[in-house]
Amino acid sequence: MSFQPVVLWSDALLFVLIAVIVGLSLWARRQDALRGAWARVARDRVAMAAATVLAVFVLIGLLDSLHYRARLESPAGATARYAVEVNSALDALLTDLRSRTEKTYSAPLATHLFAREALENSTQREFPRLQHGGAQLGDELSGHEADIAVRVLRGVAGGLVAWLLLMLLVRTATVGSGGTALRTVAMTLLPILLLFGVAISLGGGYHVFGTDKVGQDVLYLSLKSIRTGLLIGTLTTLVMLPAAVALGILAGYVGGWVDDLIQYLYTTLSSIPGVLLIAAAVLMMQVVIDTHPEWFATSAERADARLLALCLILGMTSWTGVARLLRGETLKLRELEFVQAAQAFGVGSFAIMRRHILPNLMHIVLISLVMDFSGLVLAEAVLSYVGVGVDPTTISFGTMINTARMELAREPMVWWSLVAAFSFMFTLVLAANLFADAVRDAFDPRSSA
């Protein structure tokens, strides 16, 4: 094999999450109430557009979660050796973007570096030519604008063709069926594919979003950041959910000293201001990771461990709210007839909690899951700025903003890293917010009135 698959812990958890979602949606198809609620989401045009955008982000994030180590060149017959560097399927797709690094900053679509440098055979300091950006133009730079225009047009045409082909495929696959939902998805895919087309076509010859301090392509960095944002947004909720659900139901159903103890636990934890608790826990976790270098084989694994620990810590601070909600709802459910009937039939407490209480709380769990997502993505950037976020080597929106911030004082300003990070983040969070609203409206029994 020319590569060795690597499964990082976060990858494994992400795949578990996907499996759970697929399993749950298969189960939900058979439940009338759930199918009805999801049908309401599907009828909401804004929600479907947001879901399409989210799906594109998730697809990029998933591609970025298939990790491998490339095989190194070695004589035939020798035992295979693999590179230390851990790459992902997305890296393989974007090899061009990843490998064409410049020396330092360059503006979007530029042909020259951003800073003057003393050239070898001249006494003046000039803007050196980029190695890759606009290399096809030759030295005279003839037709820079024309080249960009041609590439944009070609990209638009390519995107349009791709969209038409896709539509044709879908049309033949689902003749007759498909209502507003599919039409909305199609209309959302058009601008996305156009943007992709333009980005691919321009990216072949230029750095679409410029390059950063060490000359890396900013578009590549932005695409890589998506996985980190998605992981923080989903895994945090995933790791805290079991504890929050179990404790919330237990406190509400059992009552007595169990209730007191659990309430005490979450009141204590929630009375510590979130950022400070996170900061303290991350500082301590850093000490653990730094004093045990032997636990991690590669630097990717160490960064991954830190990402997971951050999710755990964020989860530790956010489970209290969900637990409180679930406890309150359980208190209400406990007094309802169907639970009392079950008690009268002699069903055990555990069975009641699992079979009668838990299914009636799922809408709260789902709503809090989607509502928390966007807040967590935003929190990641802030935490990385404060210095308690992801590992500095992990590419994320936070680390991008943090490094770009240093250059704001420069004249003229280096703005493209910031703008790229903020616009990717805005798109992701806006889509998540819109989708979350639709899910809440569809699942919250109070909102149907």
């Binding site: 400070l276 500082l283 301590m284 700025y385 704001l408 806006l430």
Partner: protein, 325 residues
């Protein structure tokens, strides 16, 4: 009422003890002081003496909870737990890594933090509630819809963007106010305007939308229909009836924040170079000054618990039907 306050204060004690034990476990049990010393000194300079010196400087060279070598009550008091954690209840936070007294530093820095946080809070509350009332007044019209869209868009923007963008536009392009800095007295105004403004704008999106939901919930109630039926203009219905009845859910979310205003805002203060508690915390995090972070965690929890108590008391002011016993 007084009995209620006293009882609530008594309830706070076990929670504070819990917070204290939790921070102690987090800072001294998860990692031994030796680990912290090794981390701070860096790999190159680690020797047994250096670690001992680092620990002795900070008073971390004692046993954790039980000093077997000491006699009498000193067995309990001459320990890390007593000197670092229990002493916090008395307001003694020890010294930071730079040798300064943390309690004194906190007192000095509270002023600048409040100078930003208080106007941001008051103005933000006023603007968000007014905006929400405006949207409710024009509910189910195009104005309401575009207002909600604006709110969702604004809450999807990172807080960092508001700060960086605001600094760039107002200070760098328009040259209206200095980018960052702080000074005492009336002079402070020119440094405070921008952070306060940014804080208010950054918060409008989520809070205005939240208030709008609360108001809309109230507006469906019977008393509103009665008020309209007796011929009150919509303006009076909104301001006199809906706003007052919506106070309880609003107070729940708002009052608890007031005491924590003392802590300042981490982001705003560090971007604008304000010497408040927020930037103090950030500096401590970056310098890995464990003593300061530990103290801030404790103070933050104390203020939060005070906030919860104030919330309950504020209910009695807002709603005469609420009796605390």
């Amino acid at each position: 009422m007084l009995a209620y306050i006293v009882r609530r204060l008594l309830y706070a004690i076990p929670i504070l003890i819990g917070v204290n034990l939790f921070t102690f476990a987090l800072f001294f049990v998860v990692n031994t002081p030796d680990d912290m010393a090794r981390m701070q000194l860096g790999v190159k300079r680690v020797t047994a003496e250096a670690i001992q010196k680092w620990k002795a400087e900070r008073g971390y060279d004692k046993p954790l909870v039980w000093n077997a070598a000491a006699a009498g009550s000193a067995a309990l008091t001459d320990t890390i737990f007593f000197s670092k954690s229990v002493r916090m209840f008395a307001g003694d936070f020890g010294r930071a890594d730079d040798g300064r007294d943390i309690a004194r530093e906190i007192r000095d820095r509270m002023g600048p933090s409040l100078a930003i946080a208080l106007p941001t809070f008051v103005l933000g509350l006023f603007v968000a509630i007014s905006f929400a009332l405006l949207l409710v007044f024009f509910r189910a019209t195009a104005l309401d819809f575009s207002g909600v869209v604006l709110c969702v868009a604004m809450m999807s923007i990172s807080g960092l963007f508001y700060i960086i963008g605001g600094q760039w536009l107002v200070s760098k392009v328009w040259h209206l106010v200095p980018i960052s800095g702080y000074s005492g007295g009336l002079d402070a105004a020119k440094f405070l305007i921008l952070p306060v403004l940014i804080g208010v704008i950054g918060g409008i999106g989520s809070s205005a939308r939240w208030y709008r939901t609360i108001f809309l919930e109230e507006i469906g109630r019977d008393y509103v229909r009665t008020a309209r039926a007796k011929g009150l203009p919509e303006r009076v219905v909104l301001f006199r009836h809906v706003l007052r009845n919506a106070l309880i859910p609003i107070l729940t979310g708002v009052v608890v924040v007031i005491p924590t205003l003392f802590m300042g805002s981490l982001l705003t203060e560090s971007f604008f170079g304000v010497p408040g508690l927020g930037s103090y915390t950030i500096d401590a995090i970056n310098a890995q000054d464990f003593a300061v972070v530990r103290s801030m965690v404790f103070i933050g929890s104390v203020l939060y618990i005070v906030g919860l108590l104030l919330t309950d008391l504020s209910y009695t002011l807002a709603d005469p039907r609420v009796r605390l016993q």
